[in-house]
Symmetry: C2
Subunit: 400 residues, 2 copies
Amino acid sequence: MLSCLTWSVCTHRVINAEKSEFNEDQAACCQISIRRREPGLEEDEEWLILCSTQYLTGSYWALFDGHGGPEAAIIASNYLHYCIKQKLEEAVGGITEVHPPMHLSGRCVCDSDPQFVQEKQIHAEDMVVGALENAFQECDEVIGQEMEATNQTGGCTALAALYLQGKLYVANAGDSRAILVLKDNIVPMSCEFTPETERQRIQHLAFLFPKLLDGEFTRFEFPRRLKGDDVGQKVLYRDYFMEGWGYKMVEKADLKYPLIHGHGKQARLLGTLAVSRGLGDHQLKVIDTNIEVKPFLSCIPKVNVFDFALHDIKEDDVLIMATDGLWDVLCNKEVAHTVRSFLAENRTNPHRFSELAKCLVCRARGKKTGHQWMLDDSHEASYDDISVFVIPLHNRDADC
Amino acid sequence: MLSCLTWSVCTHRVINAEKSEFNEDQAACCQISIRRREPGLEEDEEWLILCSTQYLTGSYWALFDGHGGPEAAIIASNYLHYCIKQKLEEAVGGITEVHPPMHLSGRCVCDSDPQFVQEKQIHAEDMVVGALENAFQECDEVIGQEMEATNQTGGCTALAALYLQGKLYVANAGDSRAILVLKDNIVPMSCEFTPETERQRIQHLAFLFPKLLDGEFTRFEFPRRLKGDDVGQKVLYRDYFMEGWGYKMVEKADLKYPLIHGHGKQARLLGTLAVSRGLGDHQLKVIDTNIEVKPFLSCIPKVNVFDFALHDIKEDDVLIMATDGLWDVLCNKEVAHTVRSFLAENRTNPHRFSELAKCLVCRARGKKTGHQWMLDDSHEASYDDISVFVIPLHNRDADC
């Protein structure tokens, strides 16, 4: 269990479901202080910044779900916030202005530069999004170097939330999920990246670089793995450019193992990985082959932004971040229902957000009935690691 | 002007704005009759189908906006419906069933095949979408062969609507647009594919295959084309993986012409093309270079589906399809306002849909004031070709 204070009330719990030997989930949260650059200050005058006390402060929370060992998740939990801080500082001249200047130095090389920036509709928010995208890429490189140097393997998903200047940014690469549970509605703040949701991107890459499959896999999607009896028949299929389906005359080559195989939680990329975005996995090869998985993975997050200035945030409104251990057994509506009823029933409890996180983890973990772990509604409980952040949104600037 | 009848009332107008010498827009509409295949009938028994009189009938409308000459648009207008018919017939065994069979022949190689198909949630609708996607690709190949054989050049956008079995399918590749104007709302049925909307796909391809740019272009996006004075400065930029912006230290290589340049209607791919999807352009090269544009183009449409069973269609509800000549000067709301007020004022006129199409074209063409063509609100009128279909949706099955 971790505990920390980054704004008025910030509580989270990370609990292994205790059904497996190791917990591969990792969590991190901290304040990120970004040195402001004085407008017009040249880079070679950076010592002046050091004399200044101007800082921009953000709050950061992140969850990492490791696979093939916890190492990548551990490095990411220790390093991603540093990468984000670094990338934000590199762009800070653009983050503190409504319209970022064309040149970071503030110099105006061309009179109509401000107009060009305005035409492209570039705002401070876009600079934060760009910083997060670049930070994920940087962190991925560092993990690759670190894992190679220490001869370790594995990877992790990454879900990071950053509160900065009145906006919440949620960057996601993997199958964790963040939602805002507000009084009257639920706002999804991320979408999941799996071999199924990214089928077309992955198939397209295999189409462009067939050598990546080394003759061992077929890039086509069929409803099931084909067998000898299917050869010569026309069966349902999809190629990279198709959202719909067609019929394809089956050839012998189609009997190869599919690039993406299985449905839902069983879906695998190259028979190996259940996610299509994340950090690490630089050394990962398909078992007994020389086929690398990394080219098909992406470390780039999709970033969603929520502007608090456009919403009237109520006392019980929260951000829920959790690894797939929670979402595999509870849908957004079920989580929101638990959140609302728990907070309503525990209004005077000063630890209610922390206890809500525990409540959510325990609900997803279920109860042991004989050899099985079951949910209250007698569905099977989660066998995965479960990590949950509950982050209250009211009075969010009290400590920042 | 073209005119035809494919269901109870189907009207459209194609009018060159008469400001340029040639109209590069083309239109097509027809009924598509698809031979049904008897369930369980083997392919080698196809002669049996010929004896049967069972046909499935769809209605088809399409607009093609040519560039670099009208030839590609002319071939597409003569050929795309044939490709669609062919692809629908190839999949007809799947289109007439709620759950398409795994094997077109209806054979069941594996007992759980129906279950696999159901798990993948494959419906008849997906087969039509797949047929449209394949038809666009087939038509593109035919155009390529035909243009090469006749030593012609050029390409076109393609917007095709198909009404089949109670559903409307709109397939779009390019910058034409289709919207449903219903009594209480507007339903967009397509999105535009331009160098700006497809920036990341195009930049990513240049990242994967830098040779495609032959050292003449930079794949990075900057707010404006850079110049010598920018070298050594950190300026705003985006790479393929970024939705946000960052700052990049400018190198000499960044001074090259940008892969995508200009804003809005002035945006160009490789300084050459204003659209990023469409048919043709197989021979198109960047002027004075050996750089081919085609690898960056996609002929694959995005298909949107509207299920009439889920909506209560009113008498004045219509589908509006038009080339960019209309949408450059009128937004969806303005078009919907014109549609609703025109139809309300002309309720008893039997030619009101046809006259509405003419009214929309004339509104976008504007009036000549001196040397300029102006809209009613004294904005500049469209100088492009303008083609509009107005397709009433009520009583749509009367003739089908």
